[in-house]
Every structure is written in C-alpha cells, then in structure tokens.
C-alpha cells in the first residue's frame, strides 16, 4: 500500500534536507566514516552478535563449549530425523561419482566443474534447482578487474578489514585471486553484466570497499548468474538433478571417509541411500532460523541443514558466532517486510537519514557497522521512523539517485525494486524507502581449506555453509564471488579425489548413532529434530489442531 498520511508528512523532512545533501555529495563531501575503534565500540554496544544472552555453550560435538546463537544450538542439540537403524544401507538407491547437496550457485558451479573433469554428478536439492540465496543476491559481485586502479591485494585488504581481520588468510587469498577469472567464466557463459558501450564492465562501490569493483547485472545480479549457470548445467548430460530431495544425514564408510548421503523425498516421504565417491555440501545459509527474532532476506529453504549434517559427522565449526544483518531490509509496506533492499542503492549515492531527515552514518560503512548505527538511531536515540505495524525504520533516500545520475536512473538501474514498490503504489524514484536491519548471511560455518576439503576425506564444501573466508563479517559482493570461486574449486577437487583417491568401503551411519548417544549422555532431553528443512509459519491456533500433520521441521 502507498505511504499513509503520517509517513507522507514525515517524508517532508527528508525532502527538506535533500538539496543540501545532494550539493554535499556533488562536492564529494561525505559523512565522516567511523575509525576502527569507533566501529568496534558501536558493534559491541548495538550489534546483535555481541549480545551474550543471545547465545549459549554447545554441550556436544567437536566444538563443545563454543558459544553460539540459541537457534544454532537448538539444531545441533537435536536428534536425527530418522532412526539410523531403520535405514538399509546395503540397498543403494543411487550410485554416482559425485553427490552434490544443494542446487544454488555453489552447488551448480561445482556440478559443472566436476562434470567437466569427467565425473558423473548427482545434484540433490531441497526445493527447485536454483531456489537459493544466490538467486536473491541483488547488488553485485566483487573482483579486481581494473588493473590501473585495483588489484587482488587491495581487494584482500578490504575483505579482511571488513571481516575484523579474522578471515583465514589462504581462503581470502584464493577468493581475491580467482575473482577476475570467475567474472570471465560467467561472461563466457552469457551472463549479461552491465557494461559501457565498449564492453568495459560497470563497477561501483559497496560497503567497505576502497575501489569500485562491484560488478552487476541491473539489480538482479544473483538471479542473472543463477539462471545462466542453471541453464548451462541443464545442457550437461552427466549432471542429474533431484529436486525436492534434501539430505538428512551424511553417510560415512568403514574408513571414516564420506561416502554419500541419505536423501528425503519431500513429496513421497521416501528415504534414499545415495552412494558417492565424493560428496560436496553446498547447502547455503540460515536466515529462516530467525536468529534473535530478526526478520530475514533469505530464501525459504535457508535452514542451516548442512551445518547439522557436517557437525554430526565431525566437521568443526568456524566463526559461526557471527551472522550478518543487512542494514537495509524493507519495513514498509508490511507485506514485503524483511525483503532485501540492495546495498547498490547506497553505492549509487542514496543517503540514509533519520526521522528528522538528518544523516547519522556514512552510508557505506561495512554492513555490521551500518546495521549497528541504524539500531542505535532507532532504539537509543529515538530517531527512528514509526510504521503502522509498530516497527521502526530509517529512510533510504533513493530519489537522490535520479538527481545524481539522471532522471529515470532509479527505474533503469533498479528495475526489480522499482516494480515491487510500484505494485504497492510507491514510486521510489520520488519517495524514499523505509528500512531496518534484517538477517542476511551466515558469516561462519563449517571449517574447510582453499581446496574445498573438510577434515573428512571425501567431503567437500562450498558457499555459505562454509566458515573462514569472510572472517566475522562479509563484504557486499563477496558472497556471489564466494559461491562461484569455491563452487568451482570444490567441483574440481572432488572430481580429482573421486578419480584418484576415493576408497570404497562398507557404508555406515555409526556417527549418527554416536551423536544421538552423546546427546543423551550430556543430559539433553529433547524432541527437537534436525535438520529443520522447512520453517513453519502456520498460525499457532491452527498448528494446535494439526495433530497428525506431516511436520517436516518441528
């Protein structure tokens, strides 16, 4: 619905300060950036990651004692979905070289590289192929492609600075080194990057970048990349895709190597045994856990399944105590709350202002700092804009972009968001958007190395399920890059492993039985089951009456 009268009146304050803010922007005067010390302080005080009451110590598994969000702990301290004794492992339903779990950007890139390296690939995915956070990434993909002003070193500095210097150096090195090649690979497959007439790529800033190295395809970069690589994967004869078939456990063999997974057909409710010489988990993130009650930008299937599977099998967690809140999630209209408003709006010049139309933070701080500043403005300083649903937000002044670039720029550069708001009677070329931080990304995950290997031979991982490359806070444009770079690496590594090093052996779910036993021993009495697979948004009154419902996720 269009802005109600009260909000229309409040927009006048934004319009009043806009000419002066525009003039400052044109003169190149920026709202001062925070020093690293100021950033540390605001994070400690206002960022949800730093709230001690929001986390607890894990009681089981390889990271016993690690303090982590309750929502993750709840999943890790939960029982298997299916009794391991009821699975007949000697009856193998599918036998393949490579099993890939997850059909998003990382899984699909991995499938293509594995296939190119001679492997037969089965790609199993929980929903449809391409239903993933990759599809929703809007802003862009980073790479140092302009050598006269940028390099992998500068990209590296931006990346580790944004990540609080907690990034695994080898992983960050690989990310920035392989970045230009990733872009070239995508262009070759037909991804329609935004370009100058001579073919030179358009590029812009993101939060925390020192060079404009964000490459993009309108404001639907992730969707353009996802649909293109999915289309190519469909051309490859040796890639078989199983949709609506999430993995519920990894299978190990008698040597302790990963040897496949148990898949669950969501529609027929069958459990299938897949035997594979190598397995790649690319299961994505966790937004649908609604960590600390936050709304999320994430896909319906983002329920951290891979974390559960990997942890039960013995892979350690890395930096999972941090999740990313994207500063600009929609809070109005209510129908689209939580939806991502790409950082590219700020990259293109839109200021962030409070109820009085005043700037209170540079609009291009790293995401965690920017989010913390929004929370401070709304909760401590009382300068948030109230919505009819009883929420608070700040203004993202998109109309500035039409003035800074040219009339029509908002509609041209941000067609996705322009159309979405127009459906509700809001013209974002003329009216600002109301935004608040929203749960966006799992910074940490399972431990791995620059070849995509985990501590378990035969188990490779890529994308959001992994932890280490982004440190404690990922920069904009490094996630699409992550899925392409590390998806390709995992695909190639796994294919080589399957060919040269995989060792056949008797299949086993002993690790699952051991884990369930460890739960019991540590006194955890629960009927929680994990992985969650799908969130449940049913009206609580209805849920009470659903006595025998097939609940996948309770």
């Amino acid at each position: 619905m269009p802005y109600i009268e009260e909000l229309k009146n409040l927009i006048k304050a934004v319009e009043k300060t806009r000419p002066e803010r525009l003039a400052r922007k044109k003169r190149g005067e920026e709202f001062p950036r925070m020093s690293l010390d100021e950033a540390d302080e605001i994070l400690k005080k206002y960022h949800p990651d730093y709230k001690e009451e929001g986390r607890r110590e894990l009681k089981v598994g390889p990271n016993k004692g690690y303090r982590i969000a309750h929502e993750f702990a709840d999943l890790l301290e939960a029982r298997s979905r299916v009794n391991p004794d009821s699975i007949e492992l000697s009856r193998v339903d599918i036998d393949t070289d490579i099993l890939i779990i997850g059909g998003g950007g990382a899984g699909t890139a991995a499938a293509m590289l594995a296939e190119q390296n001679g492997a037969r690939v089965v790609l199993a995915t929980k929903l449809r192929h391409g239903d993933a956070n990759t599809m929703m990434a809007e802003g862009g993909i980073q790479a140092a492609t302009k050598t006269e002003k940028d390099s992998p070193c500068v990209h590296y500095l931006d990346t580790v600075g944004g990540g609080h210097f907690k990034n695994e150096p080898e992983l960050a090195q690989t990310l920035v080194t392989e970045a230009p090649d990733a872009i070239r690979w995508l262009e070759n497959l037909g991804v329609m990057f935004s370009k100058f007439p001579d073919g030179r790529l358009h590029s812009m800033h993101g939060g925390g970048t020192s060079r404009r190295r964000m490459h993009f395809c309108g404001d639907i970069t992730g969707a353009e990349i996802m649909r293109t690589i999915r289309d190519e994967a469909r051309n490859r004869g040796n890639i078989t895709v199983l949709e609506f078939s999430p993995a519920v456990e990894l299978i190990l063999n008698e040597h302790g190597h990963c040897a496949g997974a148990i898949l669950y057909n969501l529609e027929t409710e069958e459990y299938l045994v897949v035997k594979a010489k190598a397995t790649i988990m690319a299961t994505g993130g966790c937004g649908r856990l609604h960590v600390q009650g936050f709304m999320t930008t994430n896909h319906y299937g983002a329920t951290a399944d891979g974390i559960v599977l990997g942890y039960r099998a013995g892979v350690e967690l890395k930096l999972l105590h941090t999740v990313q809140y994207h500063p600009t999630g929609a809070v109005y209209p209510e129908q689209v709350e939580g939806i991502l408003i790409t950082e590219k709006f700020r990259g293109a010049g839109a200021n962030v202002v409070n109820i009085d139309g005043e700037q209170f933070v540079n609009e291009r701080e790293p995401r965690d700092v920017e989010s913390a500043a929004f929370i401070r403005e709304c909760l401590e300083r009382g300068k948030g804009v109230p919505t009819p649903a009883g929420k608070l937000g700040v203004w993202l002044d998109s109309p500035m972009i039409d003035v800074l670039m040219e009339e029509g720029a908002v509609e041209r550069e941000f067609p996705g968001k322009y159309i979405m708001y127009r459906r509700f009677g809001i013209d974002i070329a003329k009216e600002p958007m109301l935004v608040y931080p929203t749960l966006h990304y799992q910074n940490g995950g399972l431990e791995y190395n620059a070849r995509g290997e985990t501590s378990i031979p035969g188990l490779f991982i890529a994308g959001e399920v992994t932890g280490g490359v982004h440190g404690e806070n990922r920069l904009m444009g490094n996630s699409l890059l992550d899925v392409i770079v590390f998806g390709r690496i995992a695909g190639e590594s796994a294919a080589v492993y399957a060919r040269d090093r995989a060792k056949d052996g008797k299949l086993s779910l002993q690790h699952v039985k051991d884990y369930n036993q460890e739960l019991e021993k540590s006194g955890i009495v629960t009927d929680r089951v994990a992985p969650m697979l799908l969130p449940d948004y049913a009206n609580p009154e209805v849920r009470e009456r659903q006595l025998t419902a097939r609940k996948v996720g309770k």
Binding site: K25, L36, L127, G130, M136, T145, K146, T147, C153, V154, L157, G161, P169, Q173, T177, E178, A179, P180, D181, E187, L189, M192, K195, F196, P197, G199, H205, S210, R211, G218, A223, R227, T228, D231, E232, R234, N235, F244, L266, E267, H290, Q292, G293, F294, M295, T296, Y300, Q335, V336, E337, I339, C378, A389, G416, I419, Y436, L534, Y537, A538, V542
Partner: protein
C-alpha cells in the same frame, strides 16, 4: 529493554495479525478467513498450509509462487506472485507451481550468434499468433510477445534486453495458444547476447593474468603474513576511490597495484 523493543521492531512473526480485519479467500475453491493485510503466501500459511512447492525466495525473484485468480463478477484472469500480491476479499485462486515446458539442449560453446540457431532449437517460435496472452499473464510486466517477435525478427539483443526481468515462473507458457516455451527461448537469447553479441570485457584477460602472476601472489603472501596490528594500519591508510570519480580515476598511492 533494547532487546524487547528490538524484538517488537523486527520480529517477522509479530505482525499484528490479530488486529487486521479477516476476509474470506477461496483457495482452490475452499473458503478461508485470513487477515486482509497479508500476501497470498502469508495468508495460505496463516490458514495452515506449509509449502513444499509454490514457495521459494519470498522476495519476488525466483518464480516459484506463480498464482492465478479471479474476482467475483469479473471475467478477467488475474496473475500474480503469491509472495508479492496482497489478498482481496472473495478472490479465488490457485497456485501453478510448475508447468511443463520443453527446453532444448545445446552445446553453448558451439552456438553462433546467428538467429537461425534459435530457430533450429525452437522451431515452434513461428507458431506464435501474436495474441498477447503471454504478456497479459506476466507477473513481472515483461512484454513477452515482443520478446518472441524480436526473436522471430532475428533481433537477439532486443529479445535479451526486453526479457531481462523474466523470473521463469511459466505463466506465459500456461497461456500460450502456440504452445511455446517462452522463458526458455528468452534464456537462450540472453545467453547468446551476453556471450556472443555484447562487446566483451577485454580488460578481464589482463586482470586474470595479473591476479595469478607471481608478483601479485608474492605481494598477497606478504600481506597474509603481516600481523594484525600492522594490517590495521595498512587498512586505515587505504586510499578510497571517490564515489563520484570518473571511470579513469587512478589512485595516487601505487603500493598494492
């Protein structure tokens, strides 16, 4: 204190559903009372559905939740994405989570930019009778019929740019009298355009070589070994490219280039 307020401010589940007026909607003919402020997707969940199909990104970009509906006393078929469309009183609806559409398989590397290639893979493109039902069925306002017309004329660039917002939900296919798989045809046009017609980003070749060069790798390894304290200093001293700088801007400091 802050936590409580924050929770109130941000909890997705705290939308004030109780306050909103309940209205009847008919899901595949069956009546449910749902809050009038919800999208079709959230209304179905409110009613007790847990989606397996028909739900994806929940943000209007993945094409999983195509929905068709009618309103009483109005013969028009209406379309929308369940995650983006607000319920209306007495609307009767069904989701179309999947619609069969044949996709041609091809060796993309070997394809040329000649439109004949598309005609060969999708000869049915000439079955289009220009009825415009596809365009009317598009929840993204893509001018689908114009996309197909551009393909028929051999104008791949136009087909690619006109179809850029396509989310491949399949509603156009479901309404097509000529039985075309429009979104697959458009996908092929976009890939051919992006890879074989639009000018290539030649600077990528140089960047790839530079990134993998020994010189660059040595510089990176030096940074990797630098202790955090010093790294913080280097980070602080980075020269920031001005936001409004011209494309040919270059930094004064050349240390890490």
């Amino acid at each position: 204190m802050a936590d409580k307020e924050q929770e109130k401010a941000v909890n997705e589940k705290s939308t004030e559903k109780e306050k909103a007026k309940l209205i009847p909607v008919y899901v595949m003919g069956k009546r449910y009372l749902v809050p009038e402020t919800l999208t079709i997707m959230k209304a179905l969940e409110y009613a007790g559905y847990q989606f397996i199909r028909g739900c994806g990104c929940r943000g209007g970009i993945c094409g999983a939740c195509a929905t068709v509906y009618r309103k009483p006393g109005d013969y028009h078929i209406r379309v929308g994405l369940a995650c983006q469309t607000v319920v209306e009183p007495d609307m009767y609806l069904t989701q179309i989570p999947f619609y069969p559409a044949n996709r041609a398989s091809y060796d993309f590397e070997k394809l040329s930019a000649n439109p004949e290639e598309i005609f060969k893979l999708y000869p049915e493109v000439f079955r289009c009778i220009a009825c415009n039902s596809c365009t009317k069925a598009c929840p993204m306002d893509v001018q689908v019929m114009d996309v197909i017309a551009a393909v028929k004329q051999g104008n791949i660039e136009r087909a690619a740019t006109l179809s850029f917002s396509c989310i491949q939900c399949g509603l156009c296919v479901s309404r097509c009298m000529g039985e075309l798989p429009q979104y697959h045809i458009a996908q092929l046009a976009r890939r051919i355009y992006g890879s074989k017609i639009a000018p290539r980003a030649e600077h990528l070749n140089e960047a790839v070589d530079a990134a993998k060069s020994e010189e660059c790798q040595q510089a990176l390894e030096k940074l990797m070994k630098t202790d955090v304290k010093q790294l913080r200093e280097i980070y602080k001293d980075r020269e920031i490219e001005p936001e409004m700088a011209a494309e040919d801007w270059t930094p004064a400091k050349r240390d890490y280039l």
